[in-house]
Symmetry: C2
Subunit: 293 residues, 2 copies
């Protein structure tokens, strides 16, 4: 098995290879002055089983194009099998036609990544699990929630309350709660009809004087998490943490969440960021080793 | 026939529709805060012959993704036939494997645009004509050189000397010269081995006191054109103009060319820019009308 750490997941790709004790084929990449991506596989892949690790966080379309280029060149050079690991899958929230004429962007992505020649697809904490059914090739979703919870356990947070900022994240906090054993609950997202601002419903939890961790798949602009943290602090929570698989942290998200009273934001290296302190390399390596590539 | 002016070619798309007296279906598009593209076709395309006009100038990958999304949604909604018009085709310069392991990016693009479901492909002044052979669907290249030359003719520049900054552009200046009748020639690009700077070979032309127009397919960083203009001015040319189909004008390109002594930079709306004074709408409309979509 050969691992190709893509331009967007250089560190994670190398960690996966290290864990698997696999050879890597580096990618030489650059951006031309006009903005086009250039890339070159710097090693032999002919006849090999290849794993390409490339996240599709911002700038999403650049990273997606690089992914298409890597798969196509690996296949073109005669790779026997190509597994792509996309730790964060962009466009996964655009999985339905809400209004007539809308692009179902994730379907377009899947159609094209399959056309580029992949044999298997792996991702982490996909926003909608149902999206996996749209693949023709084997597609699998892993979850980083146990790894995140273990990070907090090591910090001495066993017994902390795990909270989902919306019902969609309830399954995620249940995984975390299995490690932390402090009970869990969920909130409902609310959007102010006038201002468009995102908030969370007022809901009482038995958290006075207790530590609380808000778990979500993605932290994007941070609006929901910040509102949740604020409410939890007002309800008397001791320390409130924010944790996620995909710290996109768009714009002022980090500042917004910290100013709402959070103790720490913890993310994984599914999306490289200043808060990516938990690595999903063991998770990915395990899936590749256990079930073969 | 229905024309869909894509997000990257709103004005040109509408002009093409106007010229053809065709109905347009507008695209509602936005960028989410995290950078993902959203788009929606705001009208019926079911059973229709659809023409999507979308250039792929910078940011190339965003415009390419939007193109994939538009084709896929049009097909998904039951469009009978989809022709895409990509006035400027990104990645066309990456059409060969120069070093082992290199992505042949244009082949990946073609594979994916075909997988997205197009029935026909149209572009303007593609960098390498040979790229068209890589398409399975009918693919055609149009040239804007006659339109550009006519712009100069209207300005009273009949008899101006037409110059290609490299041999690859010689066929282009021949087309221009048919309109301007002032003779034509070409230069050879040179790259300084030490500084990496692009220059042009020193070559004498019969241009003292005459107007010269340098024609090229793309003006990207403007290095070649600026060097050519400078040399022509030193050889005593009266006024020197720069003209191209695709004014990418990366960074300081415009300033660089004007400071080298150019009178004016003229581009087409294949790539919307401050110098896009010549529209290729008549060219595209003619191709669509004459040969059907």
């Amino acid at each position: 098995m050969i691992v190709i750490p893509g331009p967007a997941s250089q560190d994670l790709g190398r960690k996966v290879a290290d864990t698997l004790k696999s050879r890597t084929v580096p990618v030489v990449f650059k951006t031309f002055p006009d903005g086009e991506s250039y890339l070159r596989l710097d090693g032999n892949v002919t006849g090999e089983e290849v794993v390409i690790v490339q996240t599709t966080g911002p700038p999403q379309d650049v990273h997606i194009m690089q992914l298409f280029l890597m798969v196509d060149v690996a296949k073109d050079l005669g790779a026997k099998k190509v597994t792509v690991v996309v730790p964060y899958l962009a466009y996964a929230r655009q999985d339905k036609r809400f209004l007539p004429g809308e692009a179902i962007s994730i379907e377009t992505f899947i159609k094209l990544i399959e056309a580029s020649g992949i044999d298997r697809f792996l991702t982490v904490n996909i926003h909608e699990e149902g999206v996996l059914n749209k693949f023709s090739v084997p597609a699998e979703n892993l979850s980083a929630m146990t790894l995140l919870a273990e990070y907090f356990k090591k910090k001495g947070l066993t017994g902390a309350f795990s909270l989902a900022p919306d019902q969609g994240a309830l399954e995620l906090v249940k995984e975390a709660d299995k490690v932390l054993n402090g009970g869990c609950g969920w909130l409902r997202k609310e959007r102010d009809r006038l201002t468009g601002e995102i908030g969370v419903e007022e809901k009482k939890f038995d958290i006075r004087g207790r530590d609380v961790i808000v778990f979500d798949d993605i932290i994007s602009t941070g609006g929901t998490i910040a509102a949740a943290v604020k409410m939890l602090k007002e309800q008397g929570a001791r320390k409130v943490y924010a944790a996620c698989a995909h710290p996109l942290l768009v714009g002022e998200a980090q500042k917004k969440i910290m100013q709402s009273g959070a103790e720490e934001i913890v993310g994984t290296d599914c999306v490289p960021s200043p808060v990516s302190v938990v690595s999903v390399a063991p998770l990915i390596a395990e899936a590749l080793a256990e079930r073969g590539i």
